[in-house]
Amino acid sequence: MASAHRPIIQVTNVSKRFGKHEVLSDISLDVAPREVLVVIGPSGSGKSTLLRCLNLLEQPSGGEIVIDGKPLLAKETNIVAVRAELGMVFQQFNLFPHLKVLDNITLGPVRVRKWPAAKARDKALELLRKVGLEDKAGAYPASLSGGQAQRVAIARALAMEPKIMLFDEPTSALDPEMVGEVLAVMKRLAKEGMTMVVVTHEMGFAREVGDRVLFMEQGRIIEQGEPKALFERPQQERTRAFLSKVL
């Protein structure tokens, strides 16, 4: 069975092409349980595509992905069941606008996990308290600020009690003054030991919270390492060039 050292995510030689355009070429990486991996790189570098391959919102063109011992691309793997173990937070929040905040959060537990409504509700309220929005349970998403919407989206993903959380540029669509409140929730999550893969432009977050930072460009992993080492002594010229622009 899974030991503490066995990676919970194993990506091997994954490639992704859209037509002739190769977005990911020969990507291999492991993520350990409880690890926070931060993926950085210029836009169009394939980092979001890589993240979306991890729960098969994008179908890789080749390679292998193993999540918690289950090979994603094998025919016998039930991808719907694997996705339930992977929470995902999107750049555009993607809250369900026809449902109240509480129902956004309980939808998955009730429909997918088949929890009784009362149990799902208790869990949702607990999570709303955790992200500081218990007073918004009855509100519709349209009435929330961007920062509030993203915190609800995090609560919605957590309600499924996932083993891994994927963040796809969670603060990129936010006004600057709201970035902090979302990052604070993510920091707490990391501290509680959640396995996280975070695609972001927030270098401060990467440095402070990341266990490992991975720099991508043109569909390849250029360099990876501990945040302090990567930010202070990047080994590759391209990493240096990118960091000099964003830091």
Binding site: A84, M88, N94, H98, G108, V112, R113
Partner: protein
């Protein structure tokens, strides 16, 4: 122009019975056509060609040929083929439903495709099946946007149901034609029929506006 109210009064019971038939045939066709149309529309959006192509052909056929031709084919061809003999009401509901399905299929497709892809992705990411995502997340949002288009289609269908008089389904036009033939008068039967249709479409329109206001 003298208008003979007495012959309208004579035919009123029959016209009212015809109105009941018109309403029932239309409602049944709207219901069946909308359900069938969802299947056709989803089929046309399928990633499997063996679902997509037939649905594509279905929509083209029913939108590209006259409703009257379809009614005749169902009445004189399809229903006798299935049951041995024909039946005007069954043929009317079948033909109108098949026709409405083609139009509502396109309404469903447009409505569903107007919902952001991120909605489906978010639903999938919390472990829903594609069908659950469609049912709980995409359709409830899409249906709101479809209401005006559905309203148009329902009103068109209600008016087009007058064509089934030609296969002797005893609805409004059937009885007004009978009235015309009996008295050799034009204005009394057709103005009366027009008024009844107008009241029906006007009421339907008002109901749809109310519904739209309630859901939106």
């Amino acid at each position: 122009m003298d208008f003979r109210f007495d012959i309208v009064r004579d035919y009123l019971p029959l016209l009212l019975r015809g109105t009941v038939y018109t309403v029932c045939i239309s409602l049944a066709s709207i219901a069946l056509g909308s359900i069938l149309g969802l299947g056709v529309g989803l089929g046309k959006m399928s990633r499997y060609w063996f679902l997509r192509w037939p649905m594509h052909a279905y929509i083209n056929f029913f939108r590209g040929t006259p409703l009257l031709v379809q009614i005749y084919m169902v009445h004189f061809g399809l229903i006798p083929l299935l049951y041995g003999k024909t039946d005007a009401i069954a043929a009317a509901v079948t033909a109108l439903s098949l026709n409405a399905a083609a139009y509502t299929a396109e309404i469903y497709r447009a409505g569903i495709q107007s919902i952001d892809k991120g909605q489906t992705e978010a639903a999938l990411s919390i472990g829903m099946t594609p069908w659950q995502a469609m049912r709980s997340v995409v359709l409830p949002q899409a249906v709101r946007r479809m209401i005006p288009a559905f309203g148009n289609e329902f009103i068109v269908l209600l008016k087009d149901s007058s064509l089934v008089a030609l296969i002797a389904a005893p609805e409004i036009m059937y009885w007004s034609s009978a009235m015309k033939n009996q008295y050799i008068r034009v204005w009394e039967p057709y103005l009366t029929a027009a008024l009844i249709y107008f009241i029906l479409t006007y009421t339907l329109n008002k109901l749809l506006v109310l519904l739209e206001r309630k859901v939106a």
